[in-house]
């Protein structure tokens, strides 16, 4: 399966991005082939709707699961509609989180914040 993680840097030792839609990159990791694919998050510079566009990128890369510390409502709706599982990350590097996920230690993210919902005018 493929898992996606918002990342601040370009490798497995990087930290997990704190804001999903605004993270500079996504790491797409194939658990079978162990291949890593770093994807630039073109949504990060959006004035609004970054979460929606970022979620679209995850879906387009055919990820089965997203590991993230938090997630907004619109992004969650895109991912749930596309049947992408959403797991909550722990402190540590991207590699720590992949290992924890493989060991079944990352719970599903149950808390979805409301996000900014396009409040770009103020």
């Amino acid at each position: 399966m493929k898992i996606a993680i918002p990342v601040d840097g370009k490798d497995l030792e990087s930290s997990v991005g704190v804001a999903f839609g605004r993270s500079p990159y996504f790491l797409i990791y194939d658990t079978e082939t162990k291949e890593e694919n770093l994807v630039v998050n073109s949504a990060s510079e959006s004035t609004g709707g970054a979460g929606i566009k970022a979620a679209q990128i995850i879906v387009d890369h055919k990820a089965n699961a997203l590991l993230t510390p938090r997630l907004g409502g619109n992004a969650a709706e895109v991912l749930k509609t596309a049947k992408v599982d959403i797991h909550k990350t722990i402190a540590g590097s991207v590699k720590d989180n992949i290992d924890a996920f493989m060991a079944g230690k990352l719970p599903l993210l149950d808390e979805i914040h409301e996000g900014r919902h396009g409040k770009t005018d103020r």
């Binding site: 609004g48 679209q56 509609t81 396009g118």
Partner: protein, 297 residues
């Protein structure tokens, strides 16, 4: 010539704005409107309108305001994703081979409908808020209300300003949203004159400068009202002097006025002293508007 002057007095639209909330826009707006013989007050701060709390208008009539958003015909859509790529607000996502719309993110530009080669997108109405019209003594009160979570109050402000048809000897006061963004631009577009309300702080000057730049950009005649004035140095006053900005009035930092205002009472209706103060301010503003609109129409 006299006739011309009277006619120009007759229909005068004054926008009251400030770079930040709490500077005194609504205080100035409701009191100026109440000091006039007859007037219209329009609350364009549609995200949190509060003028109606002061006026407590009666015989309120209400109308819903809608915008047009796209709906997808699944049979016609071939998944080219042109609409998704076009939307700079990212209101559309392509999931399970169909575009899905995030209503609250959509800015109703209609672009997705234009770029769709299969004509799979059509428009449908969606309610985003409402406008209310009521009466409070001699003031006609308009209030715009944007539903929580909506992207932009601009359609509601457009409706508010198009509904106001000044008849006879009427003064219209537009109570603007705070800041200098799209909603403020929309609110001042038709105004004959802009009144900038400023606080005597460094932060107040920063925010005054924002609206000062905006009214210059729009080539609107304008003047400043200094609110919450103390005995001490007033940075906003210094800013006005340095930039040769006309100061039209000073409202003192006054606990009686503050208390009346925080009780949602209109000072000119409660207290003769304030009636005189705001009537005098209104006269100054009116003269200035006439002067500015005659020399620079």
């Amino acid at each position: 010539m006299r006739g011309v002057t009277e006619k120009q007095t007759a229909n005068m639209m004054i926008a009251v704005l400030s770079g930040k909330g709490g500077a005194g826009k609504t205080l100035v707006s409701v009191n100026l409107a109440s000091a006039a013989e007859t007037s219209t007050y329009i609350d364009c701060d549609v995200e949190e309108p509060n003028g109606h709390l002061f006026f407590k208008p009666e015989e309120v009539q209400e109308e819903k305001v809608s915008v047009l958003i796209p709906q997808v015909d699944k049979e016609r859509c071939d998944g080219c994703r042109k609409c998704i790529d076009f939307c700079r607000f990212n209101a559309l996502a392509y999931i399970n081979k169909i575009p899905i719309l995030f209503d609250e993110v959509c800015h109703s530009c209609g672009g997705c409908i234009l770029v769709c080669p299969k004509m799979a997108l059509t428009e449908k109405k969606r309610v985003i808020g409402k406008v209310q019209k009521g009466k409070s003594d001699q003031v006609t009160v308009y209030t715009g209300i944007l539903n929580t979570g909506e992207a932009s109050g601009v359609p509601i402000i457009k409706r508010l300003l198009s509904e106001n048809s000044p008849e006879g000897n009427k003064l219209t006061i537009v109570d603007c949203p705070p800041g200098s963004s799209c909603v403020v631009m929309e609110s001042i577009e038709d105004a004959d004159y802009c009144l900038l309300v400023a606080e005597p702080t460094i932060f107040g000057v920063h925010n005054l400068n924002m609206v000062y730049e905006l009214v210059n950009l729009f080539h609107k005649p304008f003047g400043v009202i200094l609110n919450k004035c103390l005995e001490d140095d007033n940075p906003a006053e210094t800013f006005c002097i340095e930039n040769s900005i006309k100061i039209l009035g000073r409202i003192p930092f006054d606990t009686t006025l503050g208390s009346l205002n925080s009780d949602a009472k209109i000072a000119v209706r409660e207290n003769e002293q304030y009636r005189e103060m705001f009537t005098s301010l209104l006269n100054t503003v009116r003269k200035e508007v006439l002067h500015k609109t005659i020399i620079n129409p």
